[in-house]
Amino acid sequence: MSEQLTTVDGRPLKAALASAERTKRIRAVLLVMPLFIFIFFSFLYPIALMLYRSVENPLIAQHMPETVAVLENWDGKDIPGEEAFAALAKDLVAARETREIGKVATRLNFETPGLRSVITGSARSAGKWEPPYKEKFLDRRKEWGELATWATIKRLSPTITSVNYLAAVDRQFNVDGEVVMVGEDYRIYVDLFMRTMWMSVVVTVSCLILGFPIAYMLASLPLRHSNLLMILVLLPFWTSLLVRTTSWIVLLQTQGVLNDLMVWVGIIDNAQRIQLIFNAQGTVIAMTQILLPFMVLPLYSVMKTIPPSYLRAAESLGAHRFLAFWRIYVPNTLPGVGAGCLLVFILAIGYYITPALVGGQDGQMISNMIAFHMQKSLNWGLAAALGGILLVGVIMLYWLYNKLVGIDRLKLG
């Protein structure tokens, strides 16, 4: 047993095997490397960057170093003393000279609306002031006499912050540093997340209800016919997303084809044309159509592997056709149902273009808000935090699927 196995020429067998396998391994690594590099730079790195941006907060620490240093020892109970005001004056003047004052003001303004003008105004004046500064600041803007202003600056001092995530769930720190809900009028994100979830669920369920019979047909028809049907299912993939969304507008708008038809048939009165698009309803309809193939394909690939003899066996054992279908066929399609629902739900939850085009007011989803913060308000930190929450949600779904069905049973085609 202890005797070491060797090759014919006396080399230890393990070493011989390792060197024989080495070239193979190197080749495998080299083959995978390009894909890995591509995925790293196009997927993993940007996501990591985004997640970092959602918590990073360098601006205040960088451009108000003196103030940050003084506030470190501030207890937050009283308005800070002259020392802090002197530091503030120095920082504001310096920031104004380097033209960074605008960014600082914007950052503070995200946190406490109204601070922008306080900062820029004070910075303009501070250049002309001589010490002592406290009186002059308090004269210039009464906000300097409020604890909230100083608390905001102190809260934004650390270079890593959770404020973006709090803001993304309609929370903020109050003066005492406790997490509280933002004011009634500012609560939008939680509702938006809920609505996004709800609409995604509706889209997923609609896709399942529409997709299941199609997939069943595809799987049970003879190949000749099923090929044709498959082309019809895939047809949407060959048409531009924009074109399809626009054609939904043509179909569903108040003066559109569907309404015209219903008026013509007499189902509704000309005066009561139904608003079918530019709202949540229209978004759900258009998204269901666009995402349907992602439901049909995994379902089809699973159903294709279920032998027709299962149903026949169940029938021969005494089960009515419907019972056989429900007890035998449907349970065997579950991996496909799971994969299809997961795929559609994940795509739906981050969907952007369709809600943007046909969503109107109440059809907007979370990704539209992310885009807004990326492009309009330029609050990238908040956009990144919203995206981060979305990402965590998706990962949790995968985890759940893995628990319930097993990720190795995921069939996508």
Binding site: R312, A313, E315, S316, L317, G318, H320, R321, N332
Partner: protein, 381 residues
Amino acid sequence: MIARKRAAHRVTGMAQGGMTENNDPLVRFESVQKSYDGETLVVKDLNLDVARGEFLTMLGPSGSGKTTCLMMLAGFEPATHGEIYLDNSPINNVPPHKRGIGMVFQNYALFPHMSVAENLAFPLEVRKTPKSEIEQRVTKALDMVQLGSFGNRRPAQLSGGQQQRVAVARALVFDPVLVLMDEPLGALDKQLREQMQYEIKHIHENLGVTVVYVTHDQSEALTMSNRVAVFNDGVIQQLAPPDELYERPQNAFVAQFIGENNTLVGDIKEADGDNVTVDVNGSIIKALNVNTGGVGSKTTLSIRPERVAVNPSNEGDYQNVFKATVEELIYLGDHIRTRASVCGDDEFVVKIANASALAAIKEGTEVTFGWKAEDCRALDA
């Protein structure tokens, strides 16, 4: 032609009946025809009675319509024409789940998402059998196929032979009067197949259930069945017990399909009662008249290899004695398969026992073959 054959089947069918008090056949196919595409008949005018308690096998080459017949009986394919009776009542319009026929599929068709016990319980559950009784019957059925401790396993965790047994148990657990099996052993290796043949046969004998069995393995058909229906081209060529099928084939197809067979083709010169004289490439052969068109018509003579005597010492016992040249010898252990040319046919095969003095013959040797007229059957051309 077909009409005559049908009459023949009826007679044999009835002769075999009477295994139980009730002499009515359990299953009756009456002029059943089947076409899938409206152009070709896959089953052509099938008439067949299956007696109660019988083990009947449908045997035939691929595509001869065996599965189609079974599917029509199970209710998964409608008969294009004709009527099928089960227990004297027509079942053409009875859906499969109401026929109460057990079925074993070639790929077993065990439900993968259910345990073995759940698979067996399924037919009882849909019949709303009480829970306690289900448990009892499932246990009994599992014991019957010697899988008592496997109830909690999934089908995927069983070997092919075990899955096969579960499939058989499931088809029997609800006490059907009739069980259909479509090549149930096709996926098993030879040894396991033979063991399962024995077990299925055993179960059949113990339960007294009627079995209609499909296979294209002739030895399987011969060892298991009470009667075998030989299918070809959508027609039953012969329906008979195994020994009769082998000893007294009714036509050239059956003679050729069952067991090893020598065929000689010739013209009938004379007919005298049960005997005919046939001219095969100039040789005159005396044969038994089984299924011919009379004097002047062509005929196929069928002679089993083991009925041919080589260099017989008492040539007088054989009506047919001919010189033959040994063409090829194949050593098969217990016997030597000898191919020779005789009467202008060089595919003539005889078996020479390894122990006999003849075992020493060489290729190219001239020998004498002798066979009796009664062992030489004159069949259709």
